[in-house]
Symmetry: C2
Subunit: 214 residues, 2 copies
């Protein structure tokens, strides 16, 4: 059974909005003040009607002939996506990927703030990565409850992902972003997002494979 939908926008459209945002930001930097759907579509290799439909989701409205105000549109996307509300998150697993996420500046744009990192390696505990101290994973529960953290990021090996997820849920976490290539068995109501980059790579690889073997 697929989990029932939380969103009032289609998933593909939701994923396009951050892409629009990136493009609009770059346009804003160049001093552009308004932009039309056909112009956005051209840059992003979409069709104008799709851009108009996607933008309509944010509630903003454009002017015929002129298009949309860039600043207004940027703010509409921020609001719609909930980026203006910053949430705290914790991360478990401080391998290469975990540390990369700890230093990921763009999280600010999306309103996510990693407040603590955890690991089970005693050699790492107490060290600082990107100015954040690593705690032992046994402190997860008290820490999350004290800080009322709702979001957890998993960057441990696949074998440990299920266990970490369970500890997170016990700690009051309700949204999990999982980078381990593992299938997690989670209770109803937990928000789950696959972060595993293997899926993205698979798509690229398959396209290349098919092209080279045609």
């Amino acid at each position: 059974m697929p989990s029932k939908e939380l969103l009032n926008i289609s998933l593909p459209a939701l994923k396009r909005l951050p892409v629009y945002y990136n493009f609009l930001k770059s346009q804003e930097k160049e001093g552009v003040e308004t932009i039309t759907a056909p112009a956005i579509a051209k840059a992003l290799k979409l069709v104008p009607i799709q851009v108009r439909k996607d933008i309509a989701n944010t509630g903003i409205t454009g002017k015929p002939k002129t298009g949309y105000g860039i600043k207004e549109l940027l703010r509409a996307i921020e609001d719609f996506m909930g980026w203006t509300n910053t949430y705290d998150a914790i991360i478990v697993g401080t391998g290469d990927l975990g540390r990369a996420l700890l230093g990921y500046e763009a999280f600010k744009t999306y309103g996510l703030n990693i407040v603590k990192a955890f690991d089970n390696d005693p050699n790492k505990v107490g060290k600082l990565f990107h100015n954040k101290e690593i705690h032992h994973v046994d402190e997860l529960e008290t820490c999350c409850k004290r800080l009322d953290v709702k979001t957890g990021i998993i960057t441990v090996p696949a074998e440990n992902a299920q266990e970490v997820a369970e500890r997170m849920i016990k700690s009051g976490i309700i949204a999990i972003w999982n980078f381990a290539p593992a299938i997690l068995d989670l209770p109803e109501g937990i928000i789950y997002q696959q972060g595993d980059i293997g899926i993205s790579l698979s798509v690229l690889k398959k396209k290349l494979f098919d092209k080279l073997n045609r």
Copy 2:
């Protein structure tokens, strides 16, 4: 204009296959030899008919009542996805994320092998990360041509992504996996895959935001 399709499978189905694969691998480890579509569906929170349809893409066929042979199904997915053909790749940008990718073991499963890393920081050039030497980005073209590398990974800041992509294409690269949150203007025929994890985060964040603000 959206680029015309390269694939003979739907994109959503293509993305589910690696997820099946991960699950089947974990089942294989536990000594399971056959599995039915309803069992896979239950574990992955899908519906049985969708699992059967997805599996049908790989060309494999099951037995009523028994299901599919796990080893056979694993190999069918590997073959279909092209994982059995390993391609060389290069990566430009050796920040935290670039280094994480350099050490990403799962690439072996997917048949990708990062052979060289590049950076424009003279302090990094010549150093080793995960046993791979960092070269100056000026060597990109000669290096890619000599080794006949077709796949490039971009992990530079957004401002430099377009320039790096152009150098890659000049170097004979035809498939680009871009982790920078930048919109790239690429010629026709170049295979492109967004790697930017901000999109994945946005989906998680939006679901949580909507849930908390309902």
